[in-house]
Symmetry: C2
Subunit: 349 residues, 2 copies
């Protein structure tokens, strides 16, 4: 049973609960710890769609053969500044953490490092991996391709994934600057939420099955597709991610990427890409951090627009939610609690 007090769950309770499920599913303790940290950290940021809610479907994916509980991701080829990692269908956060640490080590040697992963699946919140670099005083970027659920200008149907790009950059006195965004106009979860409420959506969010913009959220699951953010610009960024994470890594791309949450027994072969730059190789790290602090100060001190209380740096809201979560517990939404309880039933927790 998961202990919920005043609608909140403590970080340590949530980690322990998730680990019990993963150990019962046959994973090693170290890998379960890694995966729990990735998912619970996302919950502390308030990014509940990509947090522990995803553990139940990930373990179903594993039970059905799409993932291998005991697989070890492995560097298959590498050079002084790059590596290709075969995930061997390990729990994806395990492969992603290993690959990001590899890119960090490469960048530490040579200023910039790249690592790519193939034979992987859904890795949760990409931002976690970028943050590993920032915690090492480096600039981290993390990207992944995902199953096609987005259209592109001129197309009818689903062409590309809503491929996310994330970065994290250290500062001196402030928290790391931290962005985690999909390349669609909004997350699909917002479309589903509008559908539940029976509300129309802006016409820049989705297209219907004919490729026409639609304000009816129910069209999305009737053969519709998400729209890229900012039209051809979002298309261009999503395509870059498809190439870096899919084409360049040897993973599947576009229509070859299956939907992990539906094709639970399939070897999805998503690809991930990580790029790390090490500022301290290029200038004294204190200089870099002072420059970052100055950047943050200038943005914070900009006058605010009517109705705005303050100007947020990317990631600042997430850090504040995390501070609260570490102090008083995570206010998990009801849908997440439901998923966690169902997972408890699955694994007799």
């Amino acid at each position: 049973m998961l202990n919920v007090t005043n609608g909140k769950v403590s970080v340590s309770d949530l980690v322990a609960y998730c680990m019990r499920a993963m150990l019962k599913a046959g994973m090693r303790e170290e890998d379960a710890q890694t995966t729990a940290d990735v998912l619970v950290t996302s919950d502390t940021w308030g990014v509940y769609t990509h947090g522990t809610k995803q553990l139940r479907p990930l373990l179903i994916h594993m039970r059905d053969g799409g993932l291998d509980p005991l697989a070890n991701p492995q560097i298959i080829s590498e050079g002084s500044s790059w590596a290709h990692v075969d995930g061997h269908y390990a729990m994806p956060p395990v492969s992603a953490v290993m690959a990001m640490r590899t890119a960090i080590n490469k960048a530490h040697q040579s200023g910039i490092g790249f690592s790519g992963v193939y034979h992987s699946s859904h890795f949760g919140a990409a931002g976690y991996y970028a943050m590993l670099a920032a915690q090492s005083d480096m600039i981290g970027l993390a990207m992944t391709n995902v199953d096609p659920f987005m259209t592109v200008p001129g197309a009818k149907g689903r062409v590309l994934g809503t491929n996310p790009i994330t970065y994290a950059i250290p500062t001196g006195k402030a928290r790391p600057v931290f962005l985690d965004m999909a390349t669609s106009t909004v997350a699909a979860s917002k479309v589903f939420a509008a559908e539940t409420l029976g509300k129309p959506i802006p016409e820049t969010w989705i297209v219907d099955r004919d490729g026409k913009p639609s304000t009816d959220p129910s069209e999305l699951l009737k053969g519709g597709a998400m729209q890229p953010m900012a039209g051809y610009k979002g298309y261009g960024i999503a395509l870059l991610i498809e190439i870096l994470a899919g084409v360049l890594t040897g993973a599947a791309f576009t229509t070859d990427v299956k939907t992990w949450i539906i094709d639970t027994d399939a070897r999805i072969n998503q690809g991930h890409a990580f790029i790390v730059l090490d500022p301290q190789i290029m200038m004294p790290i204190d200089d870099f951090k002072a420059r970052m602090d100055e950047l943050v100060r200038r943005i914070h001190e900009t006058p605010t627009a009517p109705g705005a209380q303050r100007i947020y740096m990317p990631g600042e809201m997430e850090w504040e939610r995390r501070d609260d979560a570490l102090k008083t517990g995570i206010p998990l939404p009801e849908d997440v609690l439901l998923y966690l309880r169902d997972m408890g039933d699955d694994w007799d927790l």
Copy 2:
């Protein structure tokens, strides 16, 4: 005099005309050649805002002391996979080409390379530099910070530049995939065009001096600002570019970046950033190109939406315009011809 026939100018005539101006302004022939190629290539793509139209103001910038006609950009510090280049206020395309070639060489050695430029100014169309990598069978990214002309969510006033990001990626049978985009919703030139026509603009394009979205294009130059594309997402991408091109290179950033076209005698200290990945170090280049061709094929063969004739890859329109331009000349718009004639008067061409 520039020879205009049937409203078109041949590439060779335009290169020669631009070179004459630069030689008269005191530049070396090699640097004039480099700069002419950058600007004329942009015109062949149909990106006239960043083509030879900009040579007149660049030469005024040079005449007034903001640029040094005889400066040589110089690698100041470097490692196996990175370099910092002091542009010494050379004509910016000269510094940018040198820095991109440096990043290409680094990537060729180690799989991925980074170079950053400081002491530079307006470098024209960023896409040209990314294309240099694609011409060497590599993946190129080019970015620059620019003077602040864009707001961010919650702010009143100008906070960041409309910092562009570009990439170019080689294929086998197709043309390189190629994107050059600013991080604002649209280019400022579209706002000015609407103002000239007396037409209202969508409310996602600009904010007025109070930071409120405005449909009145004349508000932009009355203390207004461009809006980032897709709200916080465009803000996040523009900020990443500001950090990679400005903070990490040692260049000026945000409000320290002056406006080259106004502060013509100022040392602008814009920064540029280039990242190159070499696919052939990671897999046989023919495999990579075949995978890129397959990606292009899948996108091209997607059914089209109502009203769409075809689905374009990023850059495809630009390549087709360039083919036409190389065959039949460049259909330079009247405003470009006017700038070129004025430049001819300046330098007695």
